[in-house]
């Protein structure tokens, strides 16, 4: 496809000025909008994510009940009703309210953990790729050792040792994801550092840090943005799994994985108590994954 793409690329370049001017007028938000809506998959994903974000943001106003309000009288018939759209759990707490408040937890912990991993990973990856030599060997070696641990076992070891708290969960996810991101960034850096514009920056005497963060990093944003959303999905799963295994965020605050765990024993009697939070977490991850996949496709189309 190499030669034919020449014919196409040339015509695309010729029209690039038009498209470019258009996008520039729209501003950064408009640009994001136009990229996302280009792929139906990304549109669906972004819609799901945005909905959960809005619900989480507005939890105090949209949640019909306080999330931890226990009403044992309701347990007699916990099924969905006009008062409790999604029913109540085994303690009579409103499931919808707990889901909305739970979204707050997930949507704070997961992005912070991923952002932490991304920042650490970017720093290590840039350093490793641009500097090379011993620094590279050491960083990659330590990363490999961390990656040799199966993730879930790493989580269990650390959380068994230091206890389950939001901070520890964020720390362990950051630690276990950073090596992977470092690898991605290192790969991109190795490619970009040999481009002529980096040589040009050296020719005019830019510092190594300037080259790493101003010349190289902005050109790695594509794969990083895609990876961010993929990782957001995985992290949401990881947090859910920890909750389900009983080593997640401590009760009573609502945590989707924990909700499933608490009600799992009652699946034969009241299946809705487990199925509904399971649906919630699945939808959030699907949203993140769809957005990531759609963005990657849109990027490939140029």
């Amino acid at each position: 496809m190499t030669e034919i793409s020449h014919d196409l690329a040339a015509s695309r370049l010729a029209s690039a000025s038009l498209v470019g001017a258009e996008a520039a007028d729209a501003g950064p938000l408009g640009k994001v909008y136009s990229v996302v809506t280009r792929s139906p998959l990304a549109t669906v994903g972004a819609t799901i994510l945005l909905t959960w974000c809005l619900l989480a943001l507005l939890a105090p106003w949209v949640a019909p009940y306080p999330p931890n309000q226990i009403d044992v009288a309701l347990v007699a018939d916990p099924h969905p009703s006009a008062q409790h759209w999604l029913g109540v759990d085994h303690l009579g707490r409103d499931i919808l309210s707990r889901l909305i408040w739970g979204a707050r937890t997930v949507l704070t912990v997961a992005p912070i953990a991923v952002l932490g991993a991304v920042m650490l990973g970017i720093f290590l990856g840039l350093l490793s790729g641009y500097r090379g030599g011993m620094i590279d060997v050491v960083i990659m070696r330590v990363g490999d050792t961390l990656l040799a641990f199966p993730k879930i076992i790493l989580y269990l070891i650390i959380i068994a040792k230091f206890g389950a708290s939001a901070f520890n969960i964020i720390a362990v996810i950051t630690l276990s994801s950073a090596p992977i991101i470092a690898r991605i960034v290192r790969g991109v850096t190795l490619d970009i550092k040999n481009r002529d514009y980096v040589a040009a920056a050296r020719m005019r005497g830019e510092s190594a840090f300037f080259i790493m963060f101003v010349e190289i990093l902005p050109n790695a944003r594509g794969p990083l943005i895609v990876d961010f959303f993929l990782r957001l999905g995985y992290t949401t799963i990881a947090i859910g799994v920890l909750g389900f295994l009983g080593v997640g965020l401590p009760p009573p605050d609502p945590d989707w994985g924990g909700m499933v765990k608490e009600a799992y024993g009652m699946i034969f009697v009241w299946p809705h108590m487990t199925i509904i939070p399971s649906l919630a977490i699945s939808s959030l991850v699907i949203g993140a994954n769809f957005l990531a996949t759609g963005l990657r496709e849109a990027a490939l189309d140029g």
Binding site: M1, T2, L41, D144, T145, A148, F149, P150, K151, I152, I153, L156, I157, I159, A160, K161, G233, I237, G240, V241, F244, L245, G246, V247, G257, V260, Y264, I267, F268, P271, T274, I275, S278, L279, I281, S282, V285, I286, A288, N289, F290, T293
Partner: protein, 312 residues
């Protein structure tokens, strides 16, 4: 090739040492814990101290680590303080169960992923590709416990076709065969979702290569090209990833085993973590990391066999 393997094995041994020491040091930094665990919460502090000295736990970490590794290399991983039996015996049993589940799942996942991935990727953005992409993306997005809940809801609670637990005992009224269905299904959905996407994107990439066009313009039929030119190339990249799934299948089944009360390695690790059963955690970590490194080695070797461009 031999040289490479030797180098990789050496690397592996080094990483294993690093990992085992890390875990050992992490768990043994506070020596009183073990004795306290053995004696229970009501023992006096002096009793705990006495036992700590008795067990030799007051010696420096490095000395104890050397001793531990010496024994471990001979197959003795110490005793579990929770289960009150040798760790090696405990592990052997649980690991066997997990390997069985892993083997069945692997045998389902790999052919399924390759077939769906290749069929989807050979006609990029065709309707089949679209459908498979959405399907695999959804599968990979649904956490195992959620998938377990959905399948349980349908096949156990609603239809009553399958057992809700898989303790691998015959006294539950369900055949062993039936007990495997749900765990394997959950693992398959989750893992195949990821693998299908892998194989598909590799296939898409290969189908865009100029040599595919060369083959078509030689006068070969589309299916001939897929079979003879695309297939092998498309499996090179996913091969390593496919092998790496063995890690997940050995050490990552904690959730599935917990869901279905399956007596496996993962659940043992979870219980050990919850009860701080250090000997079990250490041994389990060593095993899990060895599996990772071994699959990596085999992955690399297989990769070289598949791709003539790579020689060491």
């Amino acid at each position: 090739m031999l040289r490479y393997s030797a180098k990789q094995l050496l690397n592996m041994a080094l990483t294993l040492f690093a990992v085992s020491f890390l875990v050992f040091a992490l768990n043994e930094l506070s020596p009183g814990d073990v004795a306290r665990k053995v004696l229970g919460p009501y023992a006096s502090q002096s009793q705990v101290d006495y036992l700590t000295v008795q067990m030799g736990l007051d010696r420096p970490v490095l000395v104890r680590y050397a001793e531990y590794m010496g024994k471990a290399l001979a197959g003795d991983f110490g005793d579990s303080v929770v289960f009150r039996q040798p760790v090696s015996a405990l592990m052997f049993d649980r690991l066997g169960n997990t390997l069985l589940l892993a083997a069945i799942s692997f045998a389902v996942i790999v052919p399924l992923s390759i077939v769906l991935g290749v069929l989807a990727g050979m006609r990029e953005r065709g309707w089949f590709d679209r459908a498979v992409s959405v399907f695999s993306s959804m599968c990979a997005s649904i956490p195992e416990f959620a998938m377990g809940v959905f399948l349980l809801g349908i096949f156990v609670v609603w239809l009553g076709w399958l057992p809700g637990t898989s303790p691998l005992r015959s006294d539950t009224g369900w055949s062993l065969w039936m007990q495997f269905v749900l765990p394997v299904l959950v693992v398959t959905f989750y893992d195949a979702g990821y693998l299908i996407a892998m194989v598909r994107s590799s296939m898409v990439e290969v189908m865009r290569q100029p040599y595919i066009r060369t083959a078509l313009l030689k006068g070969m039929s589309f299916h001939g090209v897929v079979r003879r030119h695309a297939l092998r190339n498309a499996l090179i990249t996913p091969f390593t990833v496919i092998l790496l799934q063995l890690n997940y299948l050995v050490s990552g089944l904690v959730v599935v085993e917990t869901l279905f009360a399956y007596p496996g390695f993962g659940r043992l690790m979870l219980e050990a973590a919850l009860t701080k059963d250090i000997a079990v955690i250490e041994a389990g970590t060593l095993i899990a990391v060895s599996v990772t490194m071994l699959t990596q080695l085999f992955g690399d070797l297989g990769y070289m066999a598949l791709d003539p461009r790579i020689r060491v």
